[in-house]
Amino acid sequence: MDITVKCFAAARDVLARDEFHMDIPEGTTIEVVEREIRKLSTQLAEMPFMLALNMAYPAEGTLVKEGDELAIIPPVSGG
């Protein structure tokens, strides 16, 4: 299954891209995707971030589906 992962702020700096695609098996939870993402870079492995799924913060154990939009959300600093 193909999913899109958007990168913001410090995550974009580390990965040097705005977004990328991942191919994951059916039945993959958001936690497993997070683990895969952390493997992409040693800096990312240690970085505090949340994952958004289709523009919301998913509940624990949520399954990721074909075509989903994920996003790496480093600590926010708006306001």
Binding site: F8, A9, M55, I73, V76, G78, G79
Partner: protein
């Protein structure tokens, strides 16, 4: 009632265009402005970026939760993104309520939540 906007332009004299409401006893307005120093360095501007779509959705979500949780009448918010010079507003929030305590509590909670969950970042500064 909740309304949220995200703007690339100046928001300092933002007009939310609210209808008068005779139940309102308290109106509280918060302006968050860019200061002239960030991490002990003198700056001239901050650069903000958003996750377009989700920033709006999250602001609406926490706005609605603030209205419900504290029983205020309404909450309106505009957040600016892009390059914001020192002294100009990055955010304006307006809350109306029957009594003042609800508005104070809702404003404080809303701003704390915003700084935890809303995907907007200071990504750099300019001299």
């Amino acid at each position: 009632m909740v309304s949220v906007s995200i703007s690339g332009k100046r928001i300092d004299d933002w007009n939310f265009g609210l209808e008068p409401d005779a139940r309102v006893g308290a109106e509280l307005i918060f302006n968050g402005q860019v200061r002239d120093s960030e991490k002990d360095e003198k700056i001239g501007a901050l650069v903000y970026e958003q996750y377009e779509g989700m920033a709006q959705k999250e602001l609406e979500r926490i706005g609605s939760e603030a209205v419900e949780r504290f029983g205020v009448i309404d909450l309106h918010c505009v957040h600016r993104i892009g390059t914001i010079p020192v002294g100009e507003a990055a955010i304006v929030v307006l809350i109306r309520s029957v009594h003042r305590h609800e508005a104070f509590d809702a404003m404080s909670w809303f701003m704390d939540e915003l700084k935890k969950t809303v995907p907007i970042w200071k990504v750099g500064s300019m001299r």
